[in-house]
Symmetry: D2
Subunit: 365 residues, 4 copies
């Protein structure tokens, strides 16, 4: 265990805290929680809301809804603006709902940029514009857990008040750190927040003199070293713009493969609109094909772990993650293995997906 009062650990902590804002493109205040992403959700809720407040959950898959359920445990009223698990949140519906809230009862809007189950990408830039244009007091809280470091995200430019992320996806660090960024409107809301709890309380963390105050106790030593390395890797690659561009190419390759495999009674994209497919993960509907059997073939025969599922369609969906520390050989190897497994189980496939994916990659070489 290193000294937590002086020396290298203090420098590491200062370096990562100083670099937090750039990750979310914000001049706001960044916080690190020792937790998974759900802990960072909790920090956002506790520091800005009071019991009896209302939050509007913008449904587009599973995770915004679960975040809302967390708020409900604290006595917050939760209204779900129903959405699909095959498409994005509708900005116009949000505009209408805010316009209808003449008494400004909604204290916060909860939305994800990417839902890792449905693989939707919400248009946060447009959502932010809607909230800004509405003149509503509601805070815009965006969960970027699955998308930060994979997908363009501009917290300040897009009018986002709170951003949430965690260490184990685009940031390439083992799970164990959550992130929460707060803009000016969120910090104002903090002043009257009734749900504050000591462990997540912003004030002592903002005014920290010693490293342990930034983490409300013993700092997460090993993860801080990991996060510093991750930030340096991003810089060495050319910064976030370069990292986003790499994810775009790899996601395009995945989508080319899925498009090629598609058949009327077989595979297809879960997200129907091409404009709203995530650059971090792609969910695939398998139609008449058993995703469980597909998963088993990949695992047993090729050592590839395929994520299956989506709440109500575990047997007919699988997901390909394409986030974080990966390159063309790793994503192409995944796609080729899936294609081999599809053939092995006699699934109906259109044309060679892996060939189409290689074609996409060839344009980036």
């Amino acid at each position: 265990m290193p000294n937590i009062y002086a020396g290298e650990l203090v420098e590491v902590s200062q370096e990562v805290l100083a670099g937090l804002g750039a990750l979310a493109r914000t001049a706001g205040q960044g916080f690190i929680t020792i937790s998974n992403g759900h802990g960072a959700w909790q920090m956002a809720l506790c520091n800005t809301l009071s019991a009896g407040d209302k939050v509007l959950v913008c449904e587009s898959g599973r995770f915004a809804v679960i975040w809302g359920e967390m708020a409900a445990v604290s006595g917050v009223q939760v209204e779900v603006m129903a959405g699909s698990d095959r498409g994005p949140v509708d900005p116009e519906a949000l505009a209408a709902r805010l316009a209808a809230d003449v008494n400004q009862e909604i204290a916060a809007i909860l939305i994800v940029q990417t839902d890792t189950a449905s693989s939707v990408r919400n248009d946060i830039e447009r959502i932010g514009q809607v909230v800004t244009d509405s003149g509503h007091r509601a805070l815009l809280m965006v969960d970027c857990i699955a998308s930060l470091g994979c997908e363009r995200f501009e917290m300040d430019a897009w009018g986002v008040d709170i951003t949430i992320a965690s260490s184990q996806k685009g940031l390439m660090v083992p799970p164990g750190l959550g992130f929460c960024w707060a803009g000016p409107r969120a910090l104002t809301a903090y002043e009257s927040a009734g749900l504050r709890v000591g462990h997540f309380d912003w004030a002592p963390r903002m005014n920290a003199e010693a490293v342990y105050q930034n983490y409300n106790g013993t700092p997460p030593v090993s993860h801080l070293f990991g996060l510093r390395e991750s930030m340096r890797m991003i810089a060495e690659e050319g910064g976030l713009e370069a990292v986003w561009a790499r994810h775009q190419v790899l996601a395009d390759a995945v989508r080319a493969a899925v498009q090629a495999w598609s058949t009327p009674d077989g595979l297809n994209f879960n997200i129907t609109s091409p404009d709203h497919r995530s650059n971090a993960v792609t969910a695939v509907r398998t139609g008449s094909v058993s995703s469980v059997e597909l998963q088993e073939r990949c695992e047993a025969g090729a050592g590839l772990t395929l994520g299956i599922g989506l709440a109500n369609s575990a047997e007919s969906t699988f997901r390909i993650g394409h986030m974080g520390h990966l390159n063309p050989p790793s994503i192409l190897g995944t796609l080729a293995t899936v294609e081999a497994a599809l053939r092995a189980i006699g699934a109906p496939v259109g044309t060679s997906g892996i060939s189409a994916a290689a074609e996409v990659i060839s344009k980036s070489l």
Copy 2:
């Protein structure tokens, strides 16, 4: 990242969760938080208390008081039973206070087994007896962060309702995991707890069907592997009894050294009563000697990091940690280096402390 739905990680999680109870000697329910020890404090408070409840903080150093301050943020009334930073909580004073609380207003008693700043060891067995004998409804909550795995602790036999610990001391895992054990009275209190927050909520964690529910989200992968190894190391050494015996010998060696160094105007134990000195850490008052200078000599000349301080005596106190993964050469090397530094700065010392410490160790070889 391993699969979190099946395979090795699931086995690791099940193994460590199954082994939790034995660490605290309880048949109660164990929980793992992804956090430092303060996060586990928060879990204990949120799941058992309501705003307006009163907690009685038993002061004996710094940490129980800080725990109380955390409770106050949530609107809990905090009464501090004043104590010294040079001695233990007085069980008879606690008995008197509970007897005086005829309306049973006190909902919980917060106490540490070992205060890592003062190095006191409270007599939790006796404290537990006092609470039990009083017939009071107050929950007995014990912070074993600095002592678990170093010092005998018997949660059930001693009548403790909630126990708190963390990964980075006696359990020898990097910081990043907190632990909370709840006995029957605590689980009953949970049913009416008004401070519940979703991230720390016990019910979903107790009834988990999938690994992620045990951790309210993504599990702490790397730390779970570390914890499993730690539990196996404890078993290989002969179990907790053997681990406690090793800590006893090493702590005796430290105390023999401090005793030998002691002079009227120089070094002495912070904890005046020999019966209440911790087996995990020893705080030393340095009298006329500058602990800052001592620290600097050890660090610059010998690569040894000495912890100094105690709230109001940073310049005249230092602490020697003797917890977790250590053996006679490591603790004797520390003591000999301190002795060398004491000589280097011309500090008054009685006799050779390292010689006395080696004498203690010789009896265990």
Copy 3:
């Protein structure tokens, strides 16, 4: 540094030495050199030959010839039986040469199972039969550096006298260990070998009482732990037969891709005969296509390192290694990336190689 006289290191050393024979399928004596494969070549030469002896080098690429050059430095006469770098050693030519050596001047025959530059696989079983049938005294020395753990090899059943290997290919350990196995005829030759040098001398290593004698000095601590893990991984996979079967499938996939890519003026196999293509590595002639440009595209754009070259054709050859710790996703990812790079530079390609490779893999799932 662990104790090298007792305890875990001694157990590790004993375990790996006891397991050596099974790796080469021999009841003969196995030796570990701290070296690369060339050090193991040297051990074989020094312990069996004398200055003035003649060795017959069976050319089929680069490495047997280099081994012969090493022998020449010690004053051994070297005769090269000329071969091609696009095909195997001809067993009938060897039979004829041995028959012609009526005075039995040839003391040893040097041959590789797989030449990692040409990617040929020599038929060692047939070669062994030729030597046995000839009744010649010459020792058959086989370099399995590139093939051990990838390709069936039966030292005793095939009549091989000395086998050479190293740690960093099929055995999946970092470079730093060489291996030499000696059968009965080789141990007889040792008795009169004039080239013996102390560091490689067999006798003290065979009669070792202490661990350091097995390595003529300090043992290679970290590599021994690695080798033990490697041996355990092979056992967990189901033993050498299972490992060979996996290599066969992956090599078939590579060959299916190369076959699909082949065109008259573009890519083709370096080894013309399908029966003599290695299961560990595949060398590809690129015809009019620049292998240097192909390498650059793979490296810069996709992070894939492609080996190019062959003594006299660096610009028009590349090689795909498929040995050791790899699985379908890793080999398919490599092939797909090469295919993308071929398209990127506008190389003539027949049909989709990666699609063909995925078809091969599908049959194994």
Copy 4:
């Protein structure tokens, strides 16, 4: 496995090869063997001697003698200038022997700077002067395996022709690399050396164009990274002068302890002359005390591994290594544990050695 033809590994190899000369304080040619120290001995012998040559072994413990035995395997005549295992080589005896060799039959002188068994430190500066003053053609070959990086050594200034070392002592890298430096007279001797073997041959290594030629085959990847880190650590500490100074202080502390423990029938230094005790290791004669029992107490009770032995006195000698990556706490912890074990077995001891050692360290803080 990294690319061995371009990129980071090439840079690492170039950096360590460029830094070799500074380690031995020479402008001569440095070579790295993938081997232990014995492999580096072999390289020195093979590249400078011929069968029938005579070497003069300067005995002062075990290792020079063993080196001579290695030479004898290659047909070199070995003359041992008898010495003690309790003291250094006598420079005047060497001067006399060289003077008597009127026909200059001696081709090389083999000597160690520190014998790790006896813990003697030979005065290589004086030895070098003797050889130079003699005008004899004999090469001076010095084994610095146990001393390089611990003890001042100036190859060029002292007139040394060949220096030998290995990775696992003062250079703090796991065993697996040997080092050999050759000065101008050694390189001249190479031209007519009859014992050359290919694997150790200097010419191809000196004229290497590709990395693999520097190592006669696949480079020792993981160890090269380790060696680079080691060289950087030495530079960060302030260079060899600072490293030597640290070893001096730590060795002085060890000697103060042994001196304090000494009694007529108990412990004492193996090396009788204070001027010839090594800064890397200290051998202690235990008189009536069983070193085996001492070793067992340290190992079982305190986890400390004590080296015992010396060819003919295993039961009454032990050794304390104080080389490489260590600091005051580690060496003082070792000494205090030995003192505790001495008391545990009731050994006669003078005064507290650990107290005396701490006194020495105090002067350096």
